[in-house]
């Protein structure tokens, strides 16, 4: 009985040990433990060769890589950076090329991090590594960037048609890739808060951002994260970024502005007329541009919205800085009509439909023809119908009165032939 009790103790002990060992091996241990500031071989509890315990090494804040060109890159990773990012997964999901250990092409010194005694080292100065497999940090980023495709297939494919990717394809390695806008480890929704978008773009497009910031749209956005005003991506697109040099961008720009400016609910908040788009289309410029828009790929030479109102510097028309402010209008027209006189801007009806008060003559002409044309043509048709009915009746002999027609002429004493 005493022997039996000892056996039970032994069995329980082994079970507990075994379970503990099993759980330690099978769990993904990356974030299971607190980062250790200075890892030593003794503190690494699990064999990194088998468990891919990235943080076993990369939790060292001093750990840096040095590229052949002298550029350095921190190899330290602080898991607390992740915050509430949804990207807390396995490092290897993104760091595809580094999933083997020792890392592909890594300097053997990396072994010495743990195995200092084997390299005759003293365990000191083990935090600097030469990186030979990559040209520079950008090369690392660009390689890792491809991993985004694994989950974000759709967005990733969209970027392949973006202006940024085209610049990249032309050889500029610093054209933005996913992580340049979205960040790397700490990835959150880029439009929260909404001002974030413009700030991301401003990392490169600084001067445009400065102009935008002071525009009617930008100022409203900056003031209270106004959800109604357009920020960069509303016009230029997010992943499929299109630039103004894109041939269809100019053509589509009118609907870009139009989409919001015909929205009665949206414009009603600010007291802006929703008539602007239709009056533009009714006008010479709009008519031509809209036709160009339909036949894709044609160079548009006529004014679109932004040619008059400005692009990033757009202001409300009653703002003195606006290019369509009455005092500035002649100058604006002269961009295309160099000899435009002082009265020329009046040719533009300021997006108003003609009314009796604003443009009496135009209103009168339009109204007159709207009534006159149907009445006159209707009158013609009535006359023709009466005449045709009579002629048809005469021809088919249904109305004997027709016979009078020519007998009349003979009774007048008119000479039938020359004497």
């Amino acid at each position: 009985m005493k022997q039996c009790r000892w056996f039970v103790f032994l069995f329980t002990g082994i079970s507990v040990l075994g379970l503990g060992l099993f759980s330690a091996v099978s769990a993904r241990p990356i974030f299971a433990q607190e980062p250790t500031p200075t890892p030593t071989p003794a503190q690494t509890t699990v064999n990194p060769h088998q468990t891919n315990d990235c943080l076993g090494c990369h939790s060292n804040p001093d750990m840096v890589g040095v590229f052949a060109n002298g550029e350095t890159m921190s190899l330290y990773y602080d898991p607390s950076q992740h915050g509430d990012s949804k990207h807390i997964q396995d490092c290897r999901d993104c760091h595809d090329a580094q999933k083997e250990y020792p890392h592909n092409g890594a300097e053997t010194k990396s072994c010495a991090v743990c195995h200092a005694e084997m390299f005759g080292g003293d365990g000191q100065n083990t935090s600097v590594f030469k990186i030979q497999t990559y040209q520079d940090q950008r090369a690392v980023n660009m390689e890792i960037n491809n991993s985004c495709q694994k989950c974000h297939e759709e967005n990733f494919t969209e970027t392949t048609d973006s202006e940024h990717t085209r610049i990249l394809a032309r050889g500029n390695r610093f054209a933005p890739i996913c992580m340049d806008c979205h960040g790397s480890h700490y990835i959150t929704s880029p439009n929260e808060p909404r001002t974030n978008v413009a700030e991301i773009c401003s990392k490169c497009h600084t001067s445009v951002y400065t102009t935008y910031e002071s525009s009617v749209h930008g100022a409203a956005l900056e003031a209270d994260s106004n959800p109604d005003v357009p920020t960069c991506n509303n016009c230029h697109g997010s992943h499929k970024v299109a630039g103004p040099t894109n041939e269809n961008f100019r053509a589509d720009s009118i609907t870009l502005c139009g989409n919001c400016h015909v929205d009665k609910e949206l414009m009603g908040k600010y007291g802006i007329s929703t008539n602007v788009f239709q009056t533009y289309l009714d006008d010479f410029h709009g008519r031509t541009v809209d036709f160009f828009r339909q036949s894709r790929g044609v160079n548009i030479t006529k004014a679109t919205c932004y040619d008059c109102h400005g692009i990033h510097n757009i202001q409300a028309p009653d703002n003195e800085l606006s290019s369509v402010y009455p005092a500035n209008l002649q100058e604006t027209c002269r961009q295309c009509h160099p000899d435009a006189g002082i009265t020329f801007p009046q040719a533009w009806l300021s997006h108003y439909s003609p009314t009796w008060d604003d443009t009496p003559l135009l209103y009168a002409v339009t109204t007159f023809y709207k009534i006159f044309v149907p009445v006159l043509i209707g009158g013609f048709l009535v006359y023709i119908a009466i005449d045709a009915r009579r002629r048809i009746a005469d021809k088919f002999g249904k109305r004997p009165v027709a016979a009078n027609k020519h007998t009349d002429t003979n009774k007048t004493g008119m000479p039938d032939e020359k004497a």
């Binding site: 010479f284 008519r287 435009a340 040719a347 023809y369 005449d387 009165v401 009349d408 009774k411 004497a419």
Partner: protein, 300 residues
Amino acid sequence: MKKPKAEKAMPKAPAAIKRYIHYRDAVDAARRLRVAPDGTKYVVRFSLGQRVEHFILIFSFTTLAITGLSQSFYTSPFGSLILTILGGIESTRQVHHAAAFVFGIQSLYHVAVFIDEAFVHRRISQMFPAWSDITDAVQMVKFNLGLTKHHPRFDRYNFEEKAEYWALVWGTIAMGATGIIQWFPAQLTEILPAGWIIPVGRALHRWEAILAVLAILTWHFYHSVLKTLNLSIFNGNMSIEQMEEEHPLELAYLQAAAAAIHNKLWPVEIEIPLGHVPEEEPATVEEEVPMKKNAEGSAQ
């Protein structure tokens, strides 16, 4: 213009008047009455110049209408088809401008011919509207409705043709002026008082174009193609039969004038029938009617 008064004053209205004509006009009239080799009689109605003018008008008007309306209705299938065929809206505008230039030159030529005829040759066009056109129109409608037995009898140009012509004159002035405004907006706002003439010009140009095309398609096509196929503007000639039916007064004048030439009596007084036939049987006219009563009459 005096005719209604004459009818009112006298129960026995004259069916014809007598007047002296110029020898030159009688010669012209005699020349217009012709006999074809096969013996059929016809009247020369339009000169070669007038026929060429009409050809140019057809060409330029049609081009202007098609290129203009396709710009105006660019979203319609027909409009976009035309614009595509002509290579886009810009080249369509160039075609429109070219046709407008031809149309303008033709119109100026027409005015020049009118001035030459009126002030050099002293022949007043019979295209000017007269009071008789109104009475003709009223009688025509009454006749078509069966309210009167008498068909109005027309001179060289009937009221339908005059309406057509003067509509074209007005249309040419309106379209020309508003077209030039749109062609040179910047320059014209320098000259003209205000910039709003450009939108006014656009609106007027568009509406007037619609009106002109509809008028041609209804009024002109009915009267010169559907009603009776009138080819005189193309070959210049009209048969005696058709003259009797459509322009009996002119034919009567031509025949009277030609008869005077034939009789070699000069100066001569010819008898010219009046347009309106009284409801009762007309009395044979014996009394002399003063010449001035036929001011708008058949002077060539």
